[in-house]
């Protein structure tokens, strides 16, 4: 196999792999952001409920 042919294989493989890994990274980064927001919303909701429930218990 000539050097040019080999280079084609090698370059293509490296490009594909790096693309996969970088895409994986950004997908998981997005996922973290979305989940963080979900948790924040849910925590606020829990706090609000607890506040109102605490008021009811005091009666």
């Amino acid at each position: 196999m000539s050097i040019e042919e080999g280079a084609k294989y090698v370059a293509a493989a490296y490009a594909i792999i790096l693309a996969v890994l970088v895409a994986y990274y950004f997908m998981s980064a997005r996922r973290v952001t979305v989940l963080r927001r979900d948790v924040e919303l849910l925590e606020e909701e829990t706090k609000r409920r607890r506040a109102s429930a605490g008021g009811a218990d005091a009666d």
Binding site: I3, Y9, V10, Y24, Y25, R31, R36, V39, L42, T46
Partner: protein, 227 residues
């Protein structure tokens, strides 16, 4: 300090090392003088990916031991994420290994010890996910998964050794690149790629772990709100 090891920081470091490693490998390190020729360049990411895959399984092993000692589910999540990434890298090893095989031996697959080992490792860690999927109770699932992660990790070097017991002469053993001494420039390029790939794994594990922990938190909060 915390900022320096956060996932984005790790990712940036990984990127820097990988790019430098790539440049060095293609423009600085000499073209291999043997029959491998230019395709030997694949070595600069094939071997780091293989090493990174094993690091992933090693992290899973450590997490499994931690889980068994503490019964804290966060270690189960770390183990799960590490196995998943280790397996992803192991599959990539097969992929680059096959390309190497095609470009230097002219076949897509050879029963060469290292490739065979990684094939078995893929099966082994695929079983980890099957095991997880058939245990409903969370604590039990974590315990079994941890026990299996310990067994599997110990089996990896044994498998690697066993594939060398297969009688030679049936298939040509061509793969000798790593065994011969490397030139300094080759070694430096190789090490930089290796560090970069490991940092990339660290960034991915951090994110994955965070995702699992956040998912748990969401489930908990939902059950508080729902109940």
């Amino acid at each position: 300090m915390k900022k320096l090891v956060s996932a984005p920081a790790l990712f940036l470091w990984a990127g820097a090392f990988l790019i430098v490693g790539l440049l060095l490998a293609f423009w600085w390190a000499p073209v291999d003088a043997s029959a491998m020729g230019f395709s030997q360049k694949i070595f600069y990411y094939h071997a780091p990916i293989a090493e990174t895959s094993l690091v992933g399984f090693g992290v899973a092993f450590a997490a499994a031991v931690m889980y068994l000692r503490t019964q804290d589910l966060k270690w189960d999540r770390l183990g799960y994420v590490s196995v998943r990434l280790g397996l992803l890298f192991a599959v990539l090893v097969m992929f680059t290994g096959m390309i190497w095989g095609k470009s230097s031996w002219g076949v897509w697959w050879a029963w060469e010890p290292r490739l065979t080992t990684f094939l078995l490792v893929c099966f082994l860690y695929a079983a980890y996910f099957v095991l997880r999927s058939v245990v409903e109770e969370e604590q039990r699932r974590a315990t079994y998964a941890a026990v299996f992660a310990v067994i599997a990790f110990i089996d990896v070097p044994i498998t690697w050794f066993a594939t060398r017991l297969i009688p030679e002469g049936l298939h040509p053993v061509v793969f000798k690149a790593g065994d011969t001494g490397m030139e300094g420039s080759m070694f430096a390029s190789f090490m930089i790629s290796m560090i970069g790939m490991t940092l990339l794994l660290a960034a991915l594990i951090r994110h994955g772990w965070q995702i699992e922990l956040l998912k748990d938190r969401v489930t908990d909060l939902k059950s508080i709100l729902g109940g």
